[in-house]
């Protein structure tokens, strides 16, 4: 069974349709890159998966979006629980106005973990997995807001990892970062995909190529093409995919 499966999934903001009959599968512990220009519906797809779009007035969906075979929009689904299972990293990192340690410990605490030693273990592991531990280990108690943009983004990732999600959504996580920080995030993702199911959204074909995973190309809310990056970037089956990766539009 695929970890995530969209079956004829449509999404609307009032009268605007953002996703058109999307059919897509992501296997357990796999990384899928969703590539597409602005307005292609890629962010909408992520925000449907953790139901952040619930907050948008007049947003509605049709079709199914399954996580482990259960529709995330089923009435019995606890949204807070869903969001702990499906973590998300945003384009703009936002550290809480707390120390580095407390930023990461916040999620686990909310899950009811209060033992200091257990929290210490979780925080350290999350920071190591997000490849930021070495840089911050000596100042875990200082404010997270003094970190650089790249560090804040990896802290955001650590914050998500500390909740021990099953799925990690990343919405253009490197759009505000310099090449070196981008490289570190991408390298981290290669490690993380062994343990997590990951969906990375990017508008950058070069990033999709570097990540070198399965790639789905979205355009104007429709899935144009999906397949391994090596195939898509060498022999795109669709004309629009070719135009996009060669920079003719987007």
């Amino acid at each position: 069974m695929p970890k995530i499966k969209a079956i004829n999934f449509n999404f609307f903001y009032a009268k605007t349709q953002a996703l058109h009959s999307l059919n897509l599968e992501i296997k357990l512990n796999n990384l899928l890159t969703i590539m597409g220009p602005t307005g292609s519906g890629k962010t909408t797809f992520l925000r449907a998966l953790n139901r952040l779009n619930d907050r948008v007035p007049a947003a509605r969906h049709a079709g199914q979006l399954l996580l482990d075979g259960t529709d995330v929009y089923a009435p019995k689904v606890d949204v807070a629980e869903l969001r702990r299972r499906v973590g998300m990293v945003f384009a703009l990192p936002l550290p809480l106005p707390l120390s580095i340690y407390e930023n990461v410990a916040y999620g686990p605490r909310k899950k009811g973990i209060n033992s200091r030693s257990r929290l210490d273990t979780i925080v350290e592991k999350a920071l190591i997995d997000a490849a930021i531990f070495e840089e911050v280990k000596d100042r875990l108690n200082s404010s997270a807001q003094h970190l650089s943009g790249g560090q804040q983004q990896r802290l955001a990732l650590a914050r998500v990892l500390a909740v021990e999600p099953e799925v990690i959504l990343l919405d253009e996580p490197t759009s505000g970062l310099d090449p070196l920080s981008t490289f570190r995030i991408e390298e981290t993702l290669q490690q993380l995909k062994k343990q997590y199911t990951i969906i990375l959204v990017t508008h950058d074909p070069l990033q999709a190529a570097r990540i070198n995973s399965d790639v789905a190309f979205l355009y104007l809310g429709k899935l144009i093409e999906v397949g391994p990056a090596t195939e898509m970037f060498t022999r795109p089956r669709n004309r629009r995919t070719e135009d996009y990766i060669t920079g003719k539009f987007g």
Partner: protein, 280 residues
């Protein structure tokens, strides 16, 4: 063309400076009128004297200073939590339609003349306090309740704007961790909006200190330091408004001096509050 530019600049500069000049003249005027009272009564005696008997030449305004402080503190105690709670509800929990309906309604409160608030206080709140809590009803409590309601529109609309100005991404970052709406408000939205909320509190405080008419109608106006919240009270503004009509000589100068003290206290409160806001 250049001439026109120069002209516009000159005219606007004059207009802009005249606003400052008017403020300067007001300050100059009340200080000029009030200072003789300080020298004749003695500054310390004037500020700490507990007897206000102008006919006998006893001019101590401590009861009025205490009155203004108590009434303002009471108003803030009532108005701040109520106003902030209302703003949080409107900004974070109400549907856009409810908020669009409720916010203008609350702002309408600001348009009600203060004498009407006083009237409502006089006919509803004062008898209520007299019957259920005892005392004359005209009291610190009555004034605080009336003022607490009067500062609501300021408190609600300024802190609502501050809360709305917190970027959506801040909220979503928290929600995406599985936090509830309230946890998100507590952890992210309120800390981020804090300077704006403090600004709202400063404005509300200014309104409460300065309000005169509504307070005169429900405060009882005895020039005695109140022993409890059920005792009558006279504020500095009430003191000026009540007696200016017939005061002459030193009495009149003492009323201006009350204005000077009020001005200094409000300025100090403003400076302190602004410093707090800026320190973040």
């Amino acid at each position: 063309m250049l001439d026109q530019e120069k002209w516009a600049e000159t005219v606007l500069t004059v207009v802009g400076l005249s606003a400052v000049a008017i403020l300067g003249l007001i300050i100059l005027f009340i200080f000029k009128e009030g200072l003789p009272a300080f020298t004749q009564v003695g500054l310390w005696q004037f500020l700490t004297g507990t007897d206000w008997l102008p006919s006998k030449g006893k001019l101590g305004i401590l009861p009025m200073i205490a009155g203004s402080f108590m009434v303002t503190a009471g108003a803030l105690l009532i108005g701040l939590p109520l106003g902030l709670g209302c703003a949080i509800y409107l900004s974070e929990f109400a549907t856009p339609r409810t908020a669009a309906l409720l916010k203008p309604t609350i702002e309408l409160l600001a348009g009600i003349p203060s004498v009407v608030f006083g009237f409502i206080g006089l006919t509803l709140i004062v008898p209520f306090i007299r019957v259920f809590f005892g005392g004359p009803g005209f009291s610190v409590l009555a004034s605080s309740l009336v003022l607490g309601i009067m500062i609501l529109p300021t408190m609600v609309s300024v802190s609502y704007d501050a809360l709305r100005a917190v970027p959506l991404t801040y909220r979503e970052g928290m929600l995406a961790l599985g936090a509830s709406e309230w946890q998100t408000v507590k952890m992210v939205v309120l800390p981020a909006a804090r300077p704006g909320i403090l600004a709202a509190a400063i404005l509300a405080m200014g309104r409460a200190v300065g309000e005169t008419m509504a307070v005169i109608m429900v405060a009882g106006n005895s020039a005695i330091v109140p022993g409890s919240v059920l005792d009558p009270v006279r504020t500095m503004t009430s003191n000026i408004a009540l007696e200016m009509g017939y005061a002459t000589g030193l009495h009149r100068q003492a009323l201006f001096a009350t204005g000077v003290v009020l001005f200094v206290i409000i300025s100090v409160l403003n400076i302190v509050a602004r410093a707090v806001v800026r320190r973040k």
